[in-house]
């Protein structure tokens, strides 16, 4: 069994460390996708408010806007299989006006290439522009025709809409089911929680479909064909179902008008909160589907290596710390190509390229974060992660075992919002177990606590919120520095005195609860510098020396603790009534998701 587990983990780590892709000739050209958003029929006035706002939103900059006037989809009450078939028919009908938009169909029913050429020009990169200047035929317009095959349709269905009061009611009902002595959730926020499903389709406009279009439906001002104009009314084109996503978003704010959240911004009305749901759904769906859909992942070649740069930017909705994999393409003697990952990099500086390419566009700068030496011409492909980091480890040296035992940290990258690379917000926790530990002679202002001369069993913990910044100083980025600073609570919860269970007490409401005299807590501020080694984009090893200042130790009844005895050392009991500084070095395995 152990052998099987070992082989499984080794294979998993091997896959994580060396991702490859096998195929014939690889597609290395990024074609700018376009987006049409369609909607299920709203069933309530609130849903209608959301959809009305959604329809006004500009399309996210990495897409071309393929907005069309199209009725809502009516799929209420349908079973799943029938619903999917009906959605397919519905989007198939949308293909007609989408293509009409691409080919700029006028009131006479004639098409022209103006719009396609304009989009082709906007999508063209510097190399296309320079090549076009050296060519007697402008092939940039042909890029526009290729873009039609990347027309996407998202069909949104709002499946659940709750106010925050309803969300709290649900949480309380669930807690009550498992524990009659549950503590009701604090109802601090107001707003909405919305669940939605989005169905993603792509318009197929490959060679065979386009030849049908040109042969059967193309008519222009120079050669107007009334029959073809009439035939257009019943023209349909294939729409390929790609995937679906279900997710939940929350648009909420503190109820209390004196909340610090309103120091720099105004309190919104409930209608405004409802309208904000539209923005959240749009952003969330594009972010999540951007991870799943290949066509949404920008790809480009490495432009320069000192510093690492590539010609992508605001046009592709690049954001700070967006992750890219860099590949070398290998070709065998039969001409089959595969890509072999050589490195990983994140966006460091974003170029504003939201205009037509000139041939001398400024590139964005990237920071390599692991891998081998990179070269110009290698393939860079977006491979977004969720920005979540999980660290598990143990301190291998500490002056206070309260900061010993098991260390778990969870962090979330906030660089996109904070506009600072490498910035993350996290929670760091230590858990350790005390067995037969003498805590000394501890008292409060009300008198001695019954610990003197006794040995205690229990648990120690430390929980802090922190901010960290990942910094790189080498070209390949295989090692990094990660300083962090935070603040939180540490403490002890005792379960036994001299191996005898500590009895519970009855509180004011008549419930049996832990005796708060046996639960101590302190404030602490940790500061660390992590030295990390990147083994792969997802796995790194971090050694983290640091210090933590601890003070203000109290019981669960908020009585200050006073130490007048000689406790067992290395548990921090000797400095309960002082400001203490503890140093430790933690070794963590860190996973990035």
């Amino acid at each position: 069994m152990k052998k099987i587990l070992f082989v499984f983990f080794a294979a998993t780590i091997g896959m994580l460390l060396n991702a490859q892709d096998v195929g014939k000739t690889l597609s290395t050209k990024y074609l700018r996708p376009s987006l049409t958003s369609l909607f299920f029929q709203p069933e309530t006035a609130q849903e209608n408010t959301i959809l009305t706002k959604f329809k006004e939103l500009p399309v996210i900059s990495k897409f071309d806007d393929n907005r069309i006037e199209f009725p809502y989809f009516n799929g209420s009450g349908l079973p799943e299989a029938a619903k999917m078939a009906k959605i397919q028919q519905y989007v198939q009908q949308a293909a007609n006006p989408i293509l009409a938009k691409w080919w700029n169909r006028d009131t006479n029913g004639d098409f022209n290439t103006e719009f396609v050429a304009k989009r082709g020009g906007f999508s063209a990169i510097d190399a296309d522009v320079i090549q076009a200047k050296a060519s007697s035929t402008n092939r940039i317009e042909m890029i526009g025709a290729d873009l039609i095959d990347k027309s996407y349709v998202f069909v949104y269905d709002i499946t659940g809409l709750l106010t925050m009061e309803q969300v709290y009611d649900k949480a309380d009902a669930s807690a009550k089911k498992y524990n009659s002595n549950y503590i009701p959730v604090k109802r601090v926020d107001e707003g909405y929680e919305v669940t939605y499903t989005v169905y993603a389709y792509r318009l197929v406009f490959n060679d065979s479909v386009s030849s049908v279009f040109y042969n059967n439906y193309w008519t222009d001002a120079q050669s107007h064909d009334a029959k073809k104009v009439a035939a257009w009314g019943t023209a349909t084109f294939p729409m390929l179902y790609k995937t679906r996503l279900s997710a939940t978003v929350r648009s909420a704010q503190p109820k209390d008008p004196k909340s610090s959240a309103y120091l720099n911004k105004k309190k919104k009305t409930m209608t405004e909160l409802l309208q904000d749901v539209a923005v959240l759904v749009q952003t969330n769906s594009v972010d999540e589907l951007g991870i799943r859909l290949e066509d949404f992942k920008p790809k480009v070649s490495v432009f320069k290596t000192k510093p690492l740069s590539a010609k992508l930017g605001t046009k592709e909705s690049l954001y700070l710390d967006q992750r890219f994999f860099i590949y070398e393409i290998e070709q065998d003697l039969s001409g089959n190509q595969k890509k072999v990952r050589k490195g990983v990099a994140r966006v460091k500086e974003i170029a504003d390229n939201n205009t037509m390419a000139s041939g001398a566009s400024k590139p964005s700068v990237f920071q390599q974060q692991g891998g081998k030496k990179l070269y110009e011409g290698m393939l860079m492909e977006s491979n977004e992660d969720r920005g979540v980091g999980l660290s598990i480890g143990f301190p291998f040296s500490t002056g206070n075992k309260q900061f010993g035992g098991l260390n778990i940290a969870l962090d979330y990258r906030i660089s996109r919002v904070a506009k600072v690379t490498g910035l993350a917000l996290g929670i760091d926790a230590y858990v350790n177990f005390l067995n037969d530990v003498n805590v000394g002679n501890v008292s409060t202002s009300n008198g001695s606590l019954p610990y003197a001369g006794n040995v205690m069993d229990g648990t120690s913990y430390a929980l802090a919120v922190y901010v960290a910044k990942e910094m790189y100083f080498t070209r390949k980025g295989n090692i990094y520095l990660r300083p962090s600073i935070g603040g939180g609570l540490s403490g002890y919860v005792f379960s036994k005195i001299n191996d005898v269970e500590i009895p519970k007490v009855i509180d004011d409401s008549g419930k049996e609860v832990q005796d708060k005299n046996y639960s101590w807590s302190s404030v602490y501020f940790p500061m660390n510098i992590g030295f990390g080694i990147n083994f792969s984009p997802s796995i790194c090893l971090e050694i983290k020396p640091g210090i933590a200042f601890r003070f203000a130790s109290t019981t669960g009844n908020n009585e200050a603790l006073i130490q007048s005895g000689i406790p067992d050392d290395k548990w921090g009991f000797e400095t309960l009534d002082k400001v203490s500084m503890n140093s430790s070095t933690v070794c963590n395995l860190r996973f990035r998701f």
Partner: protein
């Protein structure tokens, strides 16, 4: 003193090794050109008097392959020609004589020398970068595709003036 001498000697030997390696790759690249070990494909109809082609060159050092592309382009247009693609016409070689390079070695050797006259007729048409699909590792070598524009009109005139090829109006 002895340590300094040792370090200096080792450094010099390493440098010589590197230079020698690069020179060997260059010589290999030139040999490949002479043996027609490159590929040439049509990329578009160039502006008046030019051909727009992509040249695929081979080398263990990608930089050598990139530098060799210009030479291979001119060489290919003179001796090989290239096939067309849908919408893009191919072109015949400027000469039908496959042995011309050896017969006129006294002209072509300096012509195709590093920094030679061939450079006058060719320019790279990119923004200084290699497209992602144009850098391929094939076995232990790299196959690099570079798009170049060759001034065929001027090249033909130069070759005719040197008496290397006959003019188009010759024979009338």
């Amino acid at each position: 003193m002895k340590t300094t001498l040792k370090i200096t000697t080792i450094s010099l030997l390493l440098m010589l090794g590197l230079i020698s390696n690069m020179s060997a790759q260059k010589r290999k690249a030139n040999k490949d050109t002479r043996e027609w070990r490159y590929e040439i494909e049509a990329m578009g109809t160039g502006v008046q008097g030019t051909y727009l082609v992509k040249v695929w060159s081979y080398s263990k050092k990608p930089q050598v392959a990139i530098e060799q592309a210009k030479k291979n382009a001119v060489h290919g247009i003179i001796f090989r020609g290239f096939a067309g693609k849908p919408g893009i016409p191919g072109q015949r070689a400027l000469t039908n004589n496959v042995n011309l390079e050896e017969e006129k070695a006294e002209f072509f050797d300096p012509f195709f020398d590093d920094g030679g006259k061939y450079m006058k007729f060719v320019s790279i048409t990119n923004d200084g970068s290699i497209a992602a699909g144009d850098r391929l590792k094939v076995g232990k070598e790299y196959k690099i595709g570079v798009i170049v524009s060759v001034n065929v009109t001027a090249l033909r005139q130069d070759l005719e003036a040197a008496g290397v090829i006959k003019g188009l109006t010759n024979g009338f």
